[in-house]
Subunit: 246 residues, 2 copies
């Protein structure tokens, strides 16, 4: 027998989103876990029971569990059931995990940790970019910078340009794993920026710093690029901390 919900045509969101059901369930469960509503070690209800609670089929539920297991959030075994993994097994830098973390406001500690990681990675990436950038890289950075100046960081287009600028730098570093890491962080930084702007106006014009960084990369000066990027991240951190303590 088909599941009885034929009496309502509307796509009952159950949760949210226009994605597939397994994706929605994965997202909702992921947000719940990352938000602390399920603690590491907790055992989820059995497949049949939980799928029924969520009003989805076991198929869809199991596929959601597979997604979360792949990201290190869950572990399931026969007899024992499905349980939330220890934090140390979570792939905190997975793009989805980062996005889900920022769904329910992340802890101040987490944001600080993320900035600490940026402070380590991005200056080094900028230095590499200054050494290895091609003409195309410079063109992309220049274009992004221009867009950024035109729209400002308070607009969607401006933030996209900011992100494009950072992405261009990281890709100029010519290091696959570094790019993968960066793109995750870049996304998170975008959320942080939005988060920041939600609370107060932009306290300072970030354009001059960006331009100095760009010039250093154009000049092919790794040390200057490293220094400038360090300053830039430090200032972003200062802004964010300001926003975190109103």
């Amino acid at each position: 027998m088909r599941q009885d919900r034929g009496h309502e045509d509307i796509r009952l969101p159950l949760a949210s989103g226009s994605r597939r059901i397994h994706g929605s369930v994965a997202r909702d469960l992921g947000v719940a876990i990352l938000g602390g509503r399920y603690a590491p070690g907790d055992v989820l209800p059995g497949e049949i029971e939980f799928a029924e609670q969520l009003k989805v089929s076991r198929t869809a539920y199991r596929e959601a569990v597979r997604i979360l297991s792949a990201k290190g959030l869950l572990e399931s075994r026969p007899r024992t059931g499905t349980r939330v993994s220890q934090r140390s097994r979570w792939n905190l830098l997975d793009p989805d995990i980062l996005a889900w973390t920022f769904e329910s406001e992340p802890s101040e500690t987490f944001i600080r940790d993320l900035f600490e990681l940026r402070m380590i990675v991005e200056p080094a990436a900028a230095a590499l970019a200054a050494e290895r950038r091609s003409g195309l890289d410079l063109a992309r950075m220049g274009h992004a910078l221009e867009e950024m100046g035109r729209h400002g960081l308070s607009t969607e287009a401006g933030r996209a340009a900011d992100q494009a600028f950072h992405t261009a730098i990281l890709e100029a570093a010519r290091n696959g794993p570094l790019i993968a890491l960066s793109s995750s962080i870049a996304a998170a930084v975008t959320w942080t920026t939005i988060f920041k702007h939600r609370r107060q106006g932009l306290p300072r014009d970030p354009m001059p710093d960006h331009r100095v960084l760009y010039e250093a990369i154009v000049a092919g000066d790794p040390d200057a690029a490293r220094r400038t990027m360090t300053d830039l991240v430090r200032l972003a951190l200062a802004d964010t901390e300001l926003a975190l303590r109103p």
Copy 2:
């Protein structure tokens, strides 16, 4: 009707491993993609056809696809089918992805990129560890160092101790995302070490370097820790490069 394979009791491995079927399929497909047997943009055969080829049910196959999609390797949409994502979407630092990459010998470029990332991250982590380490951290490092000295890096136990030493340092840095990143890299480094030893004997005794690093962290000297870790990674890279060009 049950699937007809009752005439053979043996767990036909099909591929490998003692894990669940969906896990095996995910691994095999993942290795094939990372090994270049499927290129980004390639469309996989339809679910029904491919599942039949692999001699598994559609359910198991689909769960495998969910796993790979979660790691950014695949994207599937109705009508279009399931296709291999662009490399830029792959989560190269996912622990499974790293492991699968090392299944079929990774490119020299990739190993070099990984070491470049280690050169960026691990010295910084060591510096943080020197600032923040607790007594327990030091005890764990000391113990690992001792084990490492006792067994040597040519044994399984010795390599485990090496990994434990590095893990202890990274955990002492007190930064969740950094630890997640590191544990991925640490695993990859282990494969690299095995990889290295498979080709030739250890060219140099790594213990003195490790001890100097340990002393710097005990002394709470971030700069010394950073310098020493930099040396240590650089030497490891030199050894690996030696192994890569016989």
